[in-house]
């Protein structure tokens, strides 16, 4: 009944290869976009923006970035936290050095700087693979955090080593700092997420994405059929770094406003984003969203249920959170190793056959 191609005729190749070839699916996608752009900004308040939606949007960008590297190109990375820190410090230096330039440009530039750093740390991937590459990126994580802690130039010689986002705007609308309206910060992050997702989707289904997947599935075979591993791997690192840099910049400038590198961009952040990608589904853009939503929302939902509704002590709820989130991760990985994206795919398939499953 739902998700059925019957009667949905395509007359051009372009129609046939679009992202959502099924009409029902396409309209659902337009509906989601419409709600996100036209409804939520009008009903949003500080709590929803700062506690739920901003982290969801920003972590989604990071998860898409990491998914390109890990899910599409098969290069395991544990350096996400460090690369997000590069984005954050890049945008901080740019914001303080060029206060009159629009935040939009600063965030894009921060993404570009992170892409360069990411490529530099991606160079060893040409010689080492798998776990060994994971260790090399882990080194990037520790090195970058150490660097931002050690060199005072990065935090403009402030006494505490913290970086604070000053007030900056886009077309006169305040985006960073405490006086930014919640709808503005939400809109700013949403635009970046939408752009990133569209770019990622189109990259992954084109030539670039196919070479990445060829490298992921069997790099020697890919090389034999003419894929240049240098180009494929480094473009994956660059694109991934660009997205992660954007997410790091937004994370610092728009969401938190003040950041301490060791606390905000430590190894835990790398694992968190990696878990998002694994739980959401490797090699799936939708999976990045699903994984980010799962890991951002679940603790908040558990807290609201436990503390606000049931009135339990906060420490018990915090401990339960760890247990429940951990158990759910194990459960999902056993029941569906391909992540939430696969569950979604299966559900769609079921709906398609309904009410006559064979």
């Amino acid at each position: 009944m739902f998700y059925r191609e019957a009667g949905d005729f395509k007359v051009s190749y372009q129609d046939d290869s679009q992202t959502f070839p099924i009409k029902f699916d396409r309209y659902r996608y337009y509906a989601v976009l419409a709600v996100a752009f036209l409804v939520i900004p009008f009903v949003i308040n500080d709590y929803w923006a700062n506690a739920i939606l901003l982290p969801f949007l920003i972590y989604s960008i990071a998860a898409i970035g990491l998914n390109i590297l890990v899910g599409y190109c098969g290069q395991v990375s544990l350096g996400t936290g460090g690369f997000m820190a590069v984005g954050a410090y890049a945008v901080y230096k740019l914001m303080t050095a060029f206060p009159e330039v629009s935040m939009f440009i600063h965030v894009l530039l921060a993404g570009g700087i992170t892409a360069l750093v990411c490529v530099a740390f991606g160079l060893p991937s040409l010689r080492i693979k798998g776990f060994y590459l994971a260790v090399a990126t882990l080194a990037a994580q520790f090195f970058l955090v150490w660097l931002f802690n050690r060199v005072p130039w990065f935090y403009n010689y402030s006494a505490s080593g913290q970086i604070n986002a000053p007030e900056r705007d886009v077309f006169g609308i305040v985006i960073t700092g405490p006086n930014a309206a919640s709808w503005a910060t939400y809109f700013f992050c949403l635009i970046f997420l939408t752009l990133c997702a569209i770019v990622a989707r189109n990259l992954t289904r084109g030539t670039t994405g196919r070479t990445w997947m060829a490298i992921r599935d069997m790099d020697i075979a890919a090389e034999i059929i003419g894929v240049n591993p240098l180009k494929a791997k480094l473009t994956a690192f660059a694109v991934s770094g660009f997205f992660i840099g954007i997410s790091g910049a937004l994370f610092f400038a728009v969401y938190l406003g003040a950041v301490e590198v060791g606390e905000a961009f430590g190894i835990n952040k790398s694992f968190l984003v990696l878990f998002m990608v694994i739980i959401g589904g490797l090699g799936s853009i939708f999976g990045s969203f699903a994984g980010a939503a799962f890991l951002v929302l679940l603790p908040v939902v558990l807290k609201v249920i436990g503390v606000d509704m049931m009135g339990w002590p906060t420490d018990i709820v915090a401990h339960f959170q760890l247990v429940i989130v951990g158990a759910l991760i194990v459960f999902f990985l056993i029941v569906e190793p391909h992540g939430l994206a696969q569950l979604w795919r299966v559900a769609k398939e079921k709906l398609r056959l309904w009410p006559f499953p064979h």
Binding site: V43, N45, D46, Y47, W48, N50, A51, P55, N149, S158, A159, S160, G161, Q162, N164, P166, E167, G177, P178, N179, Y255, L256, G257, A258, V259, E260, G262, E263, A264, G266, V300, K303, V304, V307, P313, T314, D315, V317, A318, H319
Partner: protein
Amino acid sequence: MKLKLTTLALGALMAAGPAMADLVFPSLSYRTGPYAAGGIPFADGYADYFTLVNERDGGIGGVKARVIECETGYNTEKGVECYESTKGEGALVYQPLSTGITYQLIPKTAADGIPLHTMGYGRTSAANGKVFGNVFNYPANYWDGASGIITYLLDSNGGDIKGKKIALLYHNSAYGKEPIRTLEELSKKHGFELSTLPVDHPGQEQKSQWLQIRRDRPDYVVMWGWGVMNQVAIQEAANVRFPMENFIGVWWSGAEHDVLSAGAKADGYKAVTFHNVGRDFPVFDDIQTYVVDKGLAAGAGDQIGNVLYNRGMYAAMLAVEAAKTAQEIHGVADITPAMMRDGMEALEMPEARMSALGMPYFGPSFNVSCENHGGPGLVGMTQWDADTKTWSLISDFQKTDTSVIQPLIEADSASYAEENKIGGRCN
């Protein structure tokens, strides 16, 4: 969706008017994570004192106090969530007990008009009330702590520490880096040699730092640690046989749980403080009668009289007294955050007032003013006795070197004012 409706309804309620039935004091606590050992006693003390005020006095000026606890785990992201979820309830003052969260809340609370009290932590230059209108860090700040340690060393060395080697072992974060600038200035002034040894979060790995201490043989080690870092450092100091009486921590490195694990070897370890320690205060009898015996104690109730429990209780006491002051100034019992801010700015805490509250000589006497949100910065020294398992105050609350601290505060707050385009107040 239901949650959304309730939050929306709450927002509407807030907009409708301050018809609140009680005075809300959010407690951004951390009872989990690597810093829980320090977070639990503080949160217990904070909550218990408000329970005491409600049970014994029937609230503050007749209005009940309500503590909303929110678990941050010392994590800044959760801190933001906690702040956003509690500020709509009419929160009067925030005390996050985390320098990282403080840095985030300074601009946010300024925009929302809610006072922030960071007692002995946070941004030191917030003591300058001309720039930081709604941030308070009385009765003492980090730079007072650093200067207090040096003053103590000067006193115990007959006024001359020229050529002495002092090592600073610090948590590699905004918190740990705070005293460096002050200590550098003081080393120029008094001619001691300063070396800095950073320890990364969470602080379990300190072998190389202590190896360096063993090699350099500094005369004194000063520690800016928190959480598990303290226990490890004291254990390591015992392992390299560093004389404990020459090992001095800031007030966040001087509680029972920090020294107990090292056993008898921790005997003689010192820490500066800005409030008294121990259980010999009449207020604890009241807490026993009105809170513990009634089964209303927060947490497990096993922390009463611990250093950090006392500190949490002291923080709550100062908040209650500021609320009372605000009620007097404005003549209403149901105060708003803006009135609370006025109360904090006009707070006077003479010895007589503390004695009347059953806390004689619990902290230094001080007054807050519009210009000075940091109090006089009097600090005392405590020492650990491993046999009796008690901390005791071994020196009076003494003056710190304001001639060094004040210019630093002026300079740092001026740069904040310039960054954020804040004009001066109190003119």
